[in-house]
């Protein structure tokens, strides 16, 4: 009898070995603080002095915003009205190539599809393989703030350095800035710059920026919501190679059979540009949004009819599903931002609890 059971040993041993191997692989590699200690100011300087290097790498973005996640059935068609919502829910992987300020390419890799944004000199191409459409944008000869255009509109996965520059610009007296224990990102030792809002009223718990110890390149951004263990939003490099990628990566011409569309050159940068996303959408409209409060717990109020997604033609049905009715309007609640659509058409938004939004709305 025991002999017979002994012969089952391999069937137990093999899964055990695999489980042990998987466990050993998933343990975080202890960095052991290999980098010299730096103050937050020095880390900020390290970021500020870094020059756009030549690199190729893979980015991974994931969100836990508390929005319902849409099942990915893989090959099905995707309507463009839900595409922006999809970017906020599921995880995404993108490949990034950069060579100097004028050459960049980002490939958002979907299942059996891909969204591309390519910049070569002053030519910018967007390509979506799902419907085989390409759009072309000719930048003005003297591009101001050139590096920002990669994060423009179409590709919602911003690179860590864009995000970090944006977030660090907001550092103010209301924020605690510390340097945490060193982390390993994409196999590189990195400083971990942690920003913690001093205010209790905001939903943002902390923001951590991983800064490469050698080059000062931001390698990852992690935003945690208050009282949530998993990061509400994170974008980080999973692999990174410094050095110029193959030049052919940046040359793009629309494939035969593709629908090509010419995008008119914007005269000045729009609100949804990555560079100043802090003041969204309605910037160039005559009716400016009103801001109450300051710092982390400020509340933005859009007059009726100006706020972007809420006044979209397709939005009502979507809005109906994503929001819950509350006193005075409907609430779109996520881990980081609450948006209150009032019955009179005004939209109040902020990284604060619902009560504060209602109070701000009542003031007017």
């Amino acid at each position: 009898m025991t002999r017979k059971w002994l012969r089952w040993l391999p069937a137990v041993a093999v899964p055990a070995v695999i489980a042990a191997g998987a466990l050993a692989g998933s343990l975080p590699a202890s960095a052991g603080d290999p980098l010299p200690t730096k103050t937050p100011e020095q880390v900020l300087q390290l970021i500020a002095q870094h020059r756009t290097p030549a690199l190729s790498g893979t980015l991974e973005q994931s969100s836990e915003l508390g929005l319902p996640e849409l099942p990915k059935t893989g090959t099905g068609p995707d309507s463009s009205s839900t595409a922006w919502l999809e970017l906020l829910t599921g995880p995404h992987t993108a490949r990034v190539y950069r060579d100097g300020p004028d050459n960049a390419r980002i490939q958002v890799m979907d299942r059996l599809a891909e969204r591309n944004a390519v910049r070569h000199g002053n030519e910018v191409w967007f390509y979506n393989s799902k419907d085989n459409t390409a759009s072309h944008l000719q930048l003005p000869a003297n591009p101001a703030g050139a590096a920002n255009h990669r994060g423009d509109g179409r590709d919602a996965t911003a690179t860590p350095d864009q995000l970090a520059t944006m977030l660090l610009a907001k550092i103010e007296p209301g924020t605690d800035v510390t340097v945490g224990a060193d982390v390993q990102v994409a196999g590189r030792a990195a400083y971990n710059l942690v920003l913690t809002p001093k205010s209790d009223a905001t939903l943002v718990g902390s923001i951590a920026v991983a800064v490469d110890g050698q080059t000062g390149l931001p390698l990852g951004v992690e935003i945690k919501a208050r009282g949530q263990a998993d990061p509400a939003f994170r974008v980080t490099y999973t692999s990174l190679t410094l050095g110029a990628p193959d030049a052919s990566v940046f040359t793009f011409s629309p494939p035969p059979g593709a629908t090509v569309q010419e995008i008119p050159v914007p005269e000045h940068k729009r609100g949804n540009d990555a560079g100043n996303a802090a003041a969204p959408a309605a910037k160039d409209s005559a009716r400016k949004p009103a801001v109450t409060g300051s710092g982390w717990d400020s509340v933005v109020e859009f007059p009726a009819g100006t706020a972007g997604p809420a006044s979209d033609a397709k939005a009502p049905a979507l809005l109906e599903q994503a929001t819950v009715p509350v006193q005075g309007g409907r609430l779109l609640s996520t881990a980081l931002v609450n948006v209150l659509v009032l019955d009179d058409g005004r939209v109040v938004a902020g990284s604060v609890p619902l009560e504060r939004l209602q109070a701000a709305a009542a003031q007017k």
Binding site: R7, A11, T75, A258
Partner: protein, 249 residues
């Protein structure tokens, strides 16, 4: 069974040929490209056959390995020969692996062939928007077939193990096919995200990574490791079950 698989691309090609133009973004991926480039018949046929048709045929072949012999009453005669049970198991698995290798190849090559016969062939547009020459495209097509062959090796190891459990071949076949469907359903539920990387079907549709420029090998490597794990676990299980089994038929 190979003929049934070969019928899939033929059906697709003929259907697209006789029907009107397919609007982009409708139906299975790449269907709208077929009319412009015949080589996409092969790709579309593989997209269509991955979720059900390929696992179905692999389940039939793998489920039949041991249980089929037992059901026919020939298993004990095979074991009377001084070949040993381990060798029999290895040869049976090798036979399944050969089928797994040939099946996607048949779909790809029949697709490319019928596509070239019915539609124009030209430079192929990749997912990244870059175009490559038809010769290189055929190489990519063969790579995808190899990817699918690797993808199905894990399922065939599961089928081999189930086949050692029973004397009824149909039961083993059905169980294997059902498992492949269950794994895909689980893979589609976002609530089970932590389980997904462990499902043998997790990488099945990621062969699109071979159609990018430059080629992304991450899915290929991850898939190979995962399938290797399944082969090791279920190979060991099948081995233990088979050497301890009382063969009565």
């Amino acid at each position: 069974m190979l003929c049934a698989l070969a019928a899939i691309p033929v059906l697709i090609a003929v259907a697209v040929r006789v029907s009107s133009a397919v609007p982009p973004g409708r139906g299975p991926a790449f269907l709208d490209r077929i009319a412009q480039n015949g080589l996409f018949v092969g790709v579309t046929a593989m997209v269509v056959s991955v979720p059900l048709f390929l696992p179905l045929t692999v389940g039939v072949v793998a489920g039949d390995t041991i249980a089929g012999e037992a059901g026919l009453g020939t298993l004990r005669y095979l074991l009377v020969a001084p070949a040993g049970r381990i060798r029999l198991l290895i040869v049976k698995y090798a036979g399944t692996a050969l089928f797994v290798l040939v099946a996607p190849l048949v779909v790809a090559l029949t697709g490319a062939g019928i596509g070239a016969a019915l539609f124009p062939v030209g430079p192929v547009t990749l997912l990244s928007g870059d175009t490559i020459e038809p010769g290189e495209a055929v190489v990519r097509l063969l790579l995808i077939a190899a990817y699918l062959a690797v993808s199905l090796l894990g399922l065939s190891a599961i089928g081999l193990f189930i086949s050692t459990l029973t004397d009824v071949p149909v039961g083993a076949m059905a169980a294997t096919v059902v498992l492949s469907v269950v794994a895909q359903v689980l893979d589609a539920l976002p609530q089970l995200g932590s389980l997904h990387p462990w499902l043998f079907s997790h990488y099945w549709l990621d062969f699109g990574d071979l159609l990018r420029q430059p080629v992304s090998w991450d899915a290929f490597a991850g898939n190979a490791v995962l399938q290797g794990g399944y082969i090791a676990v279920f190979g060991a299980l099948a081995y233990c079950r088979f050497i301890t089994k009382d063969v009565l038929s």
